[in-house]
């Protein structure tokens, strides 16, 4: 008995190959973003700890506390207050923590969207 393949077999095979290929790419990217998130978290923990220590060591908390106690006077001397706050802020720890925080948010959001894409290709 002669069996002929269904006419859409070729298309189905190609579609399956394409989706497997995409799934593979997604898996690779998932690993990349998972690694990115893990690195960001592991870097953020000591960085935030250091940032807190540096903030305590500087006058930043004391100067910014004036915002709550003497708001009107702070507004009246806004230029000096702003400069004072910038001068006392530990800029390097803030910048480093900021960079890794942004990297963590970016990696996590990409990871979540890739998980959703992977679900689509799995079905």
């Amino acid at each position: 008995m002669d069996k002929t393949p269904s006419p859409d077999l070729y298309d189905r095979i190609i579609t399956k190959i394409n989706s497997e290929h995409r799934l593979l790419l997604i898996k690779r990217r998932l690993m990349l973003y998972a690694a990115g998130s893990a690195i960001s978290v592991s870097a953020l923990v000591p960085l935030v700890k250091n940032l807190y220590q540096e903030l305590n060591r500087s006058d930043f908390f004391e100067i910014t506390s004036l915002l709550f106690t003497d708001f009107r006077l702070v507004i009246a001397n806004l230029a000096d207050f702003t400069l004072s706050a910038i001068e006392s802020a530990p800029l390097l720890p803030i910048t480093l923590s900021g960079i890794f925080l942004v990297s963590l948010i970016y990696s996590t959001s990409k990871f979540a969207s890739l998980i959703r894409s992977a679900d689509k290709y799995n079905h």
């Binding site: 100067i63 106690t69 006077l73 001397n77 000096d80 004072s84 001068e87």
Partner: protein, 184 residues
């Protein structure tokens, strides 16, 4: 106004929106970077200038013009203070504000100004000048320069002058427990 808005939408909306998105983002990013850089340079210059003047006027501000010593300052009277002259600078000082403990109060009747010397968290002395416009607050009370006492913890906002002092505009006396955690 309506016409201008529609022209703007025509030029930058629709398909053109995508075309302009990248250059606008690059331009905005460059402006922000330039702004941050400019602020950084300005703040750095202010700190450097103040630190230089602080060192230049150290003897006059803290030891006294005729070699008169301010009690508790210089010559190693206090732990952390340098025994001879200004301490070497590890970092530049904040020029517009400082928090610390008052270690000396002196009033000048002739010039109607007062001078405070405070010790900051790094055990460095700062000379704070008070004039008639300086506002001193303790809780909700307004204080006079004469009400400030040695040992009180204060936060100062002001502007640096040519003598390496901070001309104070606002002084807030902090409650004792506020600093206990941080300033030791």
């Amino acid at each position: 106004m309506e016409l201008k808005l529609s022209k703007f939408k025509e030029a930058f909306g629709g398909e053109n929106k995508l075309k302009f998105k990248k250059p606008i983002a690059i331009l905005a990013g460059s402006v922000v970077l330039l702004l941050v850089f400019t602020v950084g340079v300005f703040v750095g210059m202010e700190k450097t200038r103040f630190s230089y003047r602080w060192g230049e006027n150290y003897y006059q501000n803290f030891i006294g013009e005729r070699g008169r010593r301010v009690p508790g300052l210089g010559r190693g009277d206090r732990p952390g203070m340098m025994p001879f002259g200004p301490p070497p600078l590890d970092d530049y000082f904040n020029a517009h504000g400082v928090a610390g403990e008052i270690i000396s109060v002196s009033m000048s009747v002739a010039s109607s100004t007062s001078t405070l010397i405070i010790k900051d968290k790094e055990d460095t002395e700062k000379n704070i000048l008070l004039d008639g416009r300086t506002i001193i607050k303790n809780g909700r009370q307004d204080l006079k320069p004469g009400d400030l006492k040695i040992g009180e913890k204060i936060v100062v906002i002001g502007a640096p002058n040519e003598q390496g002092q901070i001309l104070s505009k606002l002084i807030r006396v902090q409650p004792e427990n506020f600093f206990n955690e941080y300033l030791k």
